[in-house]
C-alpha cells in the first residue's frame, strides 16, 4: 500500500494516507491493521523497557517491527522529550531516538509542544508552554538543534490544555505559525485535542482554523477519550466521533496536500476494550471519510 495517494488495491483513489499507533506486544493486532494503513506510528516511551538502571528499546517489539518489512512506513511520535522544560529536554528520549533511527528507516518524527518535567521532577502530565516571545525563542532554538541532529522531518503537536492558558503574547494558532515559519518544522494537528480544549475551556476551533497556517501541517491526529466530571479527557480509549472526523476532513482540505497522513491514536490499555475488529473497522471508516 502506498503513502502517496496512489490507488490501493484497485479501489477508490486515496486522498489521505492513513496511519495507526502500534505500541507492540500484540502481533495479532499488528497483523490485523497492517493491510489497512500506510503508516505505523511508534511511541518510543511505550516500546522501551527497564533493564536494571537502563531504559532501552524492547528487543521483542523491535523484532515485531523488523518483521513488518515494507508493509508500512514508520513514524516516530514521542511523549517524553519535554521540549518546553526550562532546564532543557530529556536526554533519555533522544538516546532512544538515536537507537531507533539506527535500526529503522523513519518517514518523520514528531513530539508535543509542551513539557512533562521541571528540574528533573516529572509532572505526571503534559502542560502547554506559555505562548510568549521568550518561550518561542527557546523552543525554536531547540527545534533547530533537533533538525540539525536528525536529517528527517520533525513536527510538533498542539497539546491539550489541562489548565487555563497563560496570557502570553500569541494566540495558539499564531504561536504555532511563528514556530513553523521560523524553523521550517512541521505541525501535527490533533483534532481531538482541539475538541477537548473546546469542551473544557471554550476554545474557538473555527477561529483557530482560520488563523492557522495549514501549509505546515504534516500529520493529522484523530482519537477519542471519555468524559469525567464534565471534563473531556485526552485518554485515547475510544473510537473516533463523527465530529472529530469532520474536523480532520476540514483540516485535510485546508492543508491542500501538505498533510501526509491521518493517524488514529489509541493507547495500548484500550485495546482489550475496543477489540481488534473495531480498530480495523475504524481504520476503514477513516480512510472512507477522506475518500468521500
Amino acid at each position: 500500500m502506498t503513502g502517496d495517494g496512489t490507488p490501493v488495491g484497485g479501489g477508490a483513489r486515496v486522498s489521505m494516507p492513513i496511519g495507526v499507533t502500534y505500541e507492540g506486544r500484540d502481533p495479532a493486532l499488528l497483523e490485523r491493521v497492517l493491510p489497512l494503513v500506510d503508516y505505523i506510528e511508534v511511541t518510543l516511551e511505550t516500546v522501551a523497557e527497564v533493564h536494571g538502571d537502563e531504559i532501552r528499546l524492547s528487543d521483542e517489539i523491535m523484532a515485531e517491527l523488523d518483521a513488518m518489512g515494507d508493509a508500512a512506513q514508520i513514524i516516530v511520535h514521542g511523549v517524553g522529550l519535554s521540549i518546553g522544560s526550562h532546564e532543557g529536554w530529556s536526554p533519555t528520549y533522544l538516546r532512544l531516538l538515536d537507537d531507533f533511527l539506527d535500526r529503522f528507516e523513519v518517514a518523520w518524527h514528531g513530539e508535543h509542544l509542551g513539557y512533562t518535567k521541571v528540574d528533573g521532577e516529572h509532572l505526571g502530565i503534559m502542560l502547554a508552554v506559555p505562548k510568549t516571545e521568550q518561550v518561542l525563542d527557546m523552543v525554536c532554538e531547540r527545534v533547530e538543534r533537533i533538525q540539525n541532529r536528525y536529517k528527517i522531518p520533525f513536527a510538533l503537536e498542539n497539546i491539550v490544555h489541562v489548565i487555563p492558558d497563560y496570557p502570553g503574547d500569541y494566540t495558539e494558532a499564531a504561536f504555532l505559525n511563528a514556530l513553523t515559519q521560523r524553523t521550517g518544522c512541521g505541525l501535527i494537528v490533533d483534532l481531538y485535542n482541539l475538541e477537548c480544549d473546546a469542551h473544557n475551556h471554550g476554545f474557538d476551533i473555527p477561529a483557530f482554523f482560520d488563523e492557522l497556517d495549514f501549509s505546515a501541517a504534516r500529520e493529522l491526529h484523530v482519537a477519542c477519550g471519555v468524559e469525567d466530571n464534565g471534563f473531556l479527557l485526552d485518554v485515547h480509549s475510544q473510537l473516533t466521533r463523527e465530529s472529530t472526523r469532520d474536523l480532520a476532513r476540514e483540516a485535510a482540505r485546508r492543508s491542500a496536500g501538505s498533510a501526509r497522513a491521518a493517524v488514529y491514536e489509541f493507547m495500548p490499555e484500550a485495546v482489550p476494550g475496543l477489540g481488534h475488529d473495531a480498530i480495523a473497522a475504524e481504520l476503514i471508516r477513516l480512510r472512507q471519510a477522506f475518500a468521500d
Binding site: 516511551e45 517524553g80 489541562v162
Partner: protein
C-alpha cells in the same frame, strides 16, 4: 516572566506542595483556585491507573479487590518521581509496594515484578516466601475472582509461611509454587530470600 519559577510553581500546584499567596503571580493564583487543577490531578491518577492495569494486572486486581487501589496509586504518585516512560512505571510501582504493610500485597507485587523480569529475559532465579498458599491467591487475581478470605486473614503475619514461589525463565510458565522445606533442598539460595 521567569519561566523556571513559573514551571516550578505549577509543579508544586500539581503535587500539592506549593502554597500560593496574594503576592504570587496572578496567573498562578488563578490556576491554584481553578477546578481545572483538581481535574488535572485526577487526570494524572487516572492515567496511572490505566497504565498499571495493563502493566501489572495481578497486583492491580489485588489492590482493587482489597479496596485500596486509588489510595495506593495516589500515594505512589505523591511519593515517587514517575517517568512519562510508561513501561518504567510498573517496575517502580511494584518495587515500591514491596514494602507494603499488607504482606499479601507485598508478596503479589514481588511475584509480579520478578515474573515480568524473567519474561523480559532476566536469567536470575527469584524466590519469594509467602505467608499463605500462593496458588489460590494467584488464581484469584489472575481470574479476577473473590480472594480466599480464610487465607488472606493471615497476611499481616510478619514471618513467612511454609510456601514459596520460585520464578525463573527455566521453569514452564516462568514459576512454580513449592513448600519451603522442598525448596530448601531443590533451590539453592532460598535461605537468603527468607
Amino acid at each position: 516572566m521567569d519561566l523556571a519559577l513559573h514551571q516550578r510553581q505549577l509543579l508544586g500546584l500539581f503535587r500539592s506542595t506549593c502554597d500560593v499567596g496574594q503576592d504570587d503571580d496572578a496567573y498562578i493564583q488563578t490556576v491554584a483556585r481553578s477546578r481545572d487543577l483538581r481535574e488535572g490531578r485526577r487526570n494524572i491518577l487516572l492515567w496511572r491507573v490505566w497504565v498499571l492495569k495493563r502493566t501489572c494486572p495481578l497486583t492491580f486486581t489485588l489492590l482493587r479487590r482489597r479496596g485500596i487501589l486509588e489510595e495506593s496509586v495516589a500515594a505512589f504518585i505523591s511519593q515517587q518521581n514517575i517517568s512519562p516512560f510508561r513501561e518504567t512505571q510498573a517496575p517502580v510501582f511494584l518495587e515500591w509496594l514491596g514494602g507494603h504493610s499488607d504482606r499479601l500485597v507485598a508478596c503479589v507485587a514481588g511475584f509480579e515484578r520478578a515474573l515480568t523480569k524473567v519474561r523480559q529475559g532476566d536469567g536470575e532465579t527469584h524466590i519469594l516466601a509467602w505467608p499463605v498458599d500462593p496458588g489460590p491467591v494467584l488464581h484469584s487475581v489472575a481470574k479476577d475472582t473473590a480472594l480466599p478470605d480464610e487465607r488472606t486473614s493471615l497476611c499481616d503475619e510478619r514471618s513467612g509461611g511454609p510456601w514459596a514461589t520460585v520464578i525463573s525463565r527455566d521453569l514452564p510458565g516462568g514459576f512454580e509454587i513449592v513448600c519451603r522445606d522442598e525448596a530448601e533442598i531443590a533451590v539453592p539460595g532460598l535461605e537468603a530470600a527468607q
